[in-house]
Amino acid sequence: MVNNAIEINNISKSYGDVTAVTGVNLNIAKGELFGLIGPDGGGKTTLFQILTSLLIPDTGHAIVEGLDTVKDFRKLRKIIGYMPGRFSLYPDLSVHENLEFFATIFNTTIEKNYHLIEDIYVQLEPFKSRRADKLSGGMKQKLALCCALIHQPVVLFLDEPTTGVDAVSREEFWVMLKRLKQKGITILVSTPYMDEASQCERIALIQDGRILQVNTPTAVTSGFDKTLFAVRSDDSYKLLLDLRTLPFAKRTEPFGEYMHVTTEPDVTAEYIAQILNSRGHKSIEVKPTSATVEDVFLDLM
């Protein structure tokens, strides 16, 4: 009967005067790999803590696998896995001791659910007696994931799992998540990195406690209906300043080695190049480009 793994209905939560999330509605299907994309302070962590029953919302309610996060929190805690934003394992326990501890408090053993973590744990195995605080960032994330998985959760909540992790480990991490998805686990993952959005099946853009948009990553980017150019010249800083003075350029943001310029619909690349040339820029390159999630995000803000 229940088709959604997670149903969030009109949830709001504030801490004193500070509003963390307001009127959030969101449905996440079973077995979905869903991304919550937004900058720090956007309300992602608060939402995670409400869904994992750690926080009680001021208004609204949330249902995870048919269980109310407030009323049924005891049952809920048996079936979810949570990986908090900060590295939250015991730094003075070894890799193996951490994993064993979390297996025990979830009334299971490493052996019983080894098949779930095997892919990930084989990489950690050589360091199993090393203290957790002596691991690299990527290794710490893998261990934290193992600890969150060891009791075979139905829904996995990963709060910024790739923050502070090198690019290669981040890539590996997403591969692991996709493998877990194939095992039928619903995964809600948050990230401040817009480029990771495309790894998810669907994403929600969240900013200042509000959901701006929910869709597949491609639908989100293809829904961008404004004219967008990628511009480059020999002096990036001057380029940014100059572009921002142009009356037809609605928004200019640095984007790697290029500037992304959102303009009026009738502006052409040649026209921009011409103006920049007249302002003394050299090696000018202007090309139309397609929007990324970040462009959409900045546009929605």
Partner: protein, 369 residues
């Protein structure tokens, strides 16, 4: 259920055993405190430097000086003829006490039955001066009694004082119970509030909460190792007191240990209570320092006697658990008292545990953050 309890307790033991600082506080601190209180902070004295101005220089004055110094409490550093010499020695800090023997000491003594000896003390340290004074008076009066020629003197009022339970006024009799109370408070309350606050601070508490483990088991599991360790601390303090400072345990040892256990429960509940309000280790530390350690030290009668405190502080001392525990300890250890004597204090401590646990229960937002 017991599997998760043991897992948490075992994890806590790892934390304790792998952290040198925790280990030092747990085991170095009690030993250090006992030694510091035992050897430095003490009202007892030996070999206090004194000077005697003997203006008589006869046989009796010589035997008087000998009597004074043979007690072991005084050491004669200078002698002089003039009273001015005394003042010079005081100013130079050479002596703490001066004794002036008047001229014709022996003659007066046998003729009048009475002779006046002047004692002058350096009262820049009032307590020390008063103690020296008392010792000197005691020793001098025993010189009187030791002389058979005077024993039949017709008009005398003899005061016979006796100090019960601690006739020699051994400082250890006071500080061993005090240090035990302090150490148990430190280890049980501060360490537990710190360890719980630490899990909150590092975020691991969230992970424990999101597990199916009931909050009560989390707390019990974390506290259990500290019950054992602080009990060991109590044993260390009592043993050091017994073997090094010769503080007796006249009453029942099992009763003393049982009372220590109850006091320990009070301290643990206080620690857990603090951790319900403190979200960081620093807050927990400050709270235990100011709300627990200082009162335990200053208002429990350990350092300053309760009877001489202003009324308000006396009232406050009545809500400090250590006040009752120190009473109990002294009753059992020094007076050999049994349950009928200490039961009132014991009941107060039990009530404290129950009340504290109830407050904690109400306050604990451990089910949700």
């Amino acid at each position: 259920m017991h599997r998760t309890f043991w897992a948490i307790a075992k994890k806590e033991m790892y934390h304790i055993l792998r952290d040198t600082r925790t280990l030092i506080i747990l085991f170095g601190m009690p030993i250090a405190l006992v030694i510091i209180f035992g050897y430095t902070i003490s009202n007892e004295f030996k070999n206090a430097s004194i000077s005697v101005i003997d203006q008589s220089r006869d046989d009796l004055s010589k035997s008087f000086i000998e009597h004074l110094t043979s007690s072991g409490h005084f050491r004669l550093v200078t002698t002089g003829k003039k009273v001015e010499d005394l003042e010079h020695a005081f100013k130079a800090g050479q002596i703490k006490m001066g004794v002036i023997i008047p001229p014709k000491f022996e003659t007066q003594y046998y003729r009048n039955n009475t002779v006046t000896v002047q004692i002058i003390t350096d009262a820049t340290e009032p307590n020390y001066a008063a103690t020296l004074n008392n010792y000197a008076i005691n020793i001098i009066s025993s010189f009187n009694k030791g002389d058979p020629a005077l024993s039949s003197a017709p008009y005398r009022i003899d005061i016979k004082t006796r100090m019960f339970y601690n006739p020699e006024l051994v400082g250890a009799y006071n500080f061993i119970p005090g240090v035990a109370a302090l150490i148990l408070m430190l280890v049980s309350a501060m360490m537990t509030s710190l360890t719980i606050a630490k899990e909150k601070e590092t975020g691991t508490m969230d992970l424990l909460l999101v597990s199916p483990v009931p909050p009560l088991i989390i707390i019990l599991g974390k506290v259990a190792p500290y019950i054992i360790l602080s009990f060991i601390d109590a044993l260390i303090v009592f043993a050091m007191g017994y073997y090094i400072f010769e503080v007796p345990i006249l009453g029942s040892l099992p009763l003393l240990l049982l009372m220590s256990l109850i006091y320990l429960m009070v301290a643990l509940s206080l620690g857990v209570l603090i951790s319900t309000v403190a979200d960081t280790q620093q807050t927990a530390m400050m709270a235990s320092m100011f709300a627990l350690l200082l009162p335990t030290m200053l208002l429990s009668g350990f350092i300053f006697p309760i009877a001489s405190m202003p009324t308000l502080l006396q009232v406050i001392s009545r809500i400090i658990p250590a006040t009752y525990f120190i009473d109990i300890e002294k009753a059992i250890m020094l007076k050999g008292a049994g349950w009928e004597v200490i039961q009132q204090s014991a009941i107060v401590m039990v009530v404290m545990v129950i009340v504290l646990l109830l407050i904690t229960w109400k306050n604990f937002k451990i089910i949700h953050k």
